[in-house]
């Protein structure tokens, strides 16, 4: 059972856990990305996530297929939220279950690393001082925003 989606509603970590827990699996690994109040020394007040939704979902599906192939994890759910998120809100959740712990843990890490590299989702950070900016983790020239 593998599933991924890009959603606008709130992510409910408990329901993801319930979705993957089963008597066949002895280990569940859950990763949550949440909106942090600071980035690069600037005070953040909110983050606006946007996506190329159809490609983001296709790319997530490819990542889950790779994860299954690499780690043998077939119980794997990913949700990425887009829209305006407040501090502490969950932006991404990855839940993996496996009979043994190592594949569940390895798989979760793989999925979050790949999401950060290649899923077409962007964030515009809103700062406490009223300014905002696109986040560019690649370190390429920042495009300054309004």
């Amino acid at each position: 059972m593998k599933r991924s989606s890009v959603i606008t509603r709130e992510i409910d970590p408990a329901s993801l856990i319930n979705e993957v827990v089963s008597p066949q699996c002895g280990a569940v690994s859950l990763f949550l990305g949440t909106v942090r109040d600071a980035n690069d020394g600037r005070s953040v007040s909110a983050i606006e996530y946007s996506a190329y939704k159809s490609m983001a979902e296709a790319e997530l599906e490819r990542i889950l297929d790779e994860a299954e192939e690499r780690f043998g994890v077939s119980v794997l759910v990913v949700e990425h939220r887009i829209g305006l998120l407040g501090l502490g809100d969950v932006s991404v959740a990855i839940a993996a279950a496996h009979p043994h712990r190592a594949p569940a843990l390895d798989c979760t890490r793989y999925v979050i690393e790949e999401i950060k590299k290649r899923v077409p989702i962007w964030k515009m950070e809103h700062y406490a001082d009223g300014t905002r900016d696109w986040v560019d983790p690649s370190g390429a020239a920042q495009v300054s925003s309004v």
């Binding site: 990305g33 996530y49 946007s50 996506a51 190329y52 159809s54 490609m55 983001a56 296709a58 790319e59 990425h80 932006s91 991404v92 979050i112 999401i115 950060k116 590299k117 290649r118 899923v119 077409p120 989702i121 962007w122 964030k123 515009m124 696109w134 986040v135 560019d136 983790p137 690649s138 390429a140 020239a141 495009v143 925003s145």
Partner: protein, 81 residues
């Protein structure tokens, strides 16, 4: 000569002032050809040297041929998670 629509997102849509641009496409054009056409548009001079391009929802190599029926998008540096 046909026309293709290129989707723009996030900072790139802001740079070019629109969520899509229409471009003429000569038969046999590659991703690279398309990019040099895009670079001549107003606002596009601030694009990075080799922005990532997606064809039909997958990242494309610069030598890939672009078809008029393709879904084409320019992908700014991603920041998901």
């Amino acid at each position: 000569m046909s026309t293709v629509t290129v989707q723009l997102f996030a900072s790139y849509a802001e740079l070019l002032g629109a969520p899509t641009v229409e471009l003429p496409l000569a038969p046999g054009s590659t991703v690279k050809d398309l990019l040099s056409r895009i670079r001549s548009l107003p606002g596009a001079s601030s694009l990075p040297n080799a922005p990532r391009v997606a064809i039909n929802r997958s990242f494309a190599a610069s030598e890939q041929i672009v078809e008029a029926s393709d879904e084409i998008a320019l992908i700014p540096p991603v920041a998901g998670g």
